[in-house]
């Protein structure tokens, strides 16, 4: 149960965590403004801590009820059987799958909360520039984009002889929501086809190209 709760809490967006922290800090500062005796201070401290924890728990619970866990999930299935000329080793496959999934989590976070920082790790070069440009223009016009219920069927179609570049075909389906301020202007379940180029960095794989195509 605790593990499940922890798993859920790790999926809370940064903004909500920030809001929860703000509530906790407000409770804490309200406590500091009072000048009680030592005994009452201890009692007050304990009660404030309980209140702040309850507030955080309540906020997390509200989030969990409002946003089902599956909505934020990113499912990635990868097939590397047809990759060549170099065969993809099991460890490499796991690394690519992990980092590609992280890339989509970061992309969804960046475009929902207009947080460009989330893009710096998993994306480089053209892919990063394009997404950064999206974030900055979204900020300018007060827009945001949500990628919900993501499912990616990824197939590695090329793996270079020296292992320095891999090309993936990703048939992705997700719920695309575009919001202007708080108002939803577009909500559609889309099936997209992406051609992806990933290259190895120091200790992980990075997305260098993420380009949607009509079909493979």
């Amino acid at each position: 149960m605790i593990a499940l709760a922890t798993l859920h809490i790790t999926m809370i967006p940064t903004s909500l965590l920030t809001a929860m922290n703000t509530v906790a800090m407000a409770v804490s500062s309200a406590r500091r403004r009072r000048v009680p005796s030592i005994g009452s201070s201890l009692r007050s401290h304990a009660s404030s801590r309980i209140i702040s924890r309850m507030t955080a728990l309540l906020a997390a619970s509200l989030f969990l009820f409002c946003v089902p866990r599956s909505k934020a999930a990113v499912n990635v299935d990868m097939n590397v059987r047809h990759a060549g000329p170099r065969a993809v080793e099991a460890l490499t496959e796991r690394g690519i799958l992990r980092d590609y999934r992280i890339a989509w989590i970061s992309l969804a976070h960046a475009l929902e909360f207009n947080a460009a920082d989330a893009l710096s790790g998993p994306f480089v070069s053209t892919a990063r520039d394009t997404l950064m440009s999206n974030v900055s223009s979204q900020q300018r016009f007060g827009l945001s984009t949500r990628y919900l219920n993501q499912n990616h069927k990824v197939e590695a179609v090329y793996y270079a002889p020296e292992g320095d570049v891999i090309e993936l075909h990703d048939e992705a389906d997700y719920e695309l929501q575009i919001l202007d301020g708080g108002k939803m202007i577009h909500d559609e379940h889309v099936v997209m086809h992406y051609v992806v180029l990933m290259t190895p960095a120091a200790d992980h794989w990075v997305v260098r190209q993420l380009q949607a195509v009509p079909q493979f």
């Binding site: 070069s125 394009t130 223009s137 827009l143 051609v195 949607a212």
Partner: protein, 302 residues
């Protein structure tokens, strides 16, 4: 209940029903009018970095959102006109969504395809390679347009490998999903190997340094000195006759009555030389890497 009463009641009901139908038809008509007013048609084909237009029907003002790779724009537009999409908003290849909102929102999507190849990314491995190694040199070429979009149907890529004036490889490879590649055996002579990939007028050039392979046919000579022996190799070459680079280690092993001793010496100016302390009859052997040389027997009196 008489027929006349029934008729009057029926007439009233029929009139009410008729008016209700009229009302429904009017509502449907207005709704259809609103929908028609916001209808939009996306471009059927668009190319990166080229302007395009979205056609709309109806009248009045609306808000157009253009959301695609690298762009999330919002602008006020007049319905019934062709709405121009700027070239700078369509620089990135991919899927775009045009959303037109007044009372309600309508959307259309379209794809922007990459422009002509303008840049060739060419990855060649390795930077140094021993001669005559099978499948030792490989290269991958990816074509991009001027906006950094991967050109998926870039056509045929020509790979040319030349060592000096000799052509090592000339191969045309059809790109699949934007990628063309080759793999080949390294040349027979040490020196720079030029590797060129080209698509039309576009080309990228890389250099690979081919170096001598393992030493081959090691031969040593030696002579006794006052303190022992001096042994040295003949100029060290690989099996293709390429001089093995200076610094390559050659091991001399001397076996005499007191046992075995080994001296490692680097090749300097093409030969390796060592002084070995030994007395009496001695057998000297030589090796470098996996290659063994001749044995040299020097008697005690020589």
């Amino acid at each position: 209940m008489s027929w006349s009463i029934n008729t009057a009641w029926a007439n009233r009901r029929m009139r009410l029903l008729f008016h209700a139908c009229l009302g429904i038809a009017a509502v449907v008509g207005v709704a259809r009018g609103v929908c028609a007013a916001q209808d939009l048609r996306a471009p059927s084909a668009a190319t990166a970095g080229e302007p395009a237009t979205i056609s709309t029907t109806g009248g009045g003002r609306a808000t157009l959102y253009l959301v695609g790779p690298g762009v999330s724009n919002k602008s006020d537009v007049s319905l019934g006109n062709e709405i121009p999409l700027r070239a700078q908003d369509l620089r990135d290849a991919g899927q775009y969504f045009a959303i037109l909102c007044s009372d309600i929102c309508h959307s259309a999507s379209f794809y922007v395809s990459p422009a002509m190849p303008a840049d060739l990314a060419f990855l060649v491995h390795p930077s140094r390679v021993p001669v005559a190694q099978s499948d030792a040199v490989s290269g991958v070429a990816l074509a991009f347009d001027q906006f950094g979009n991967l050109v998926l149907d870039s056509g045929t890529v020509n790979f040319q490998l030349t060592a000096g004036k000799a052509s090592l490889l000339s191969q045309s490879v059809r790109a699949h999903d934007g990628i063309a590649w080759f793999r080949t055996t390294s040349g027979k002579t040490a020196g720079p190997l030029q590797v060129v990939a080209s698509i039309g007028q576009l080309s990228a050039r890389r250099n690979v340094q081919e170096v001598a392979s393992e030493p081959c046919n090691l031969r040593i000579t030696g002579q006794r000195t006052k303190d022992g022996l001096v042994v040295e190799t003949e100029p060290v070459h690989d099996c293709g006759g390429n001089p093995v680079p200076d610094g390559t280690i050659v091991s001399f092993t001397a076996t005499d009555a007191s046992g075995k001793s080994t001296v490692d010496a680097p090749i300097k100016r093409g030969v390796a030389r060592a002084e070995i302390a030994a007395s009496g009859p001695v057998v000297v052997s030589v090796a470098s890497g996996v290659a063994m040389g001749n044995e040299l027997r020097i008697g005690g009196g020589q």
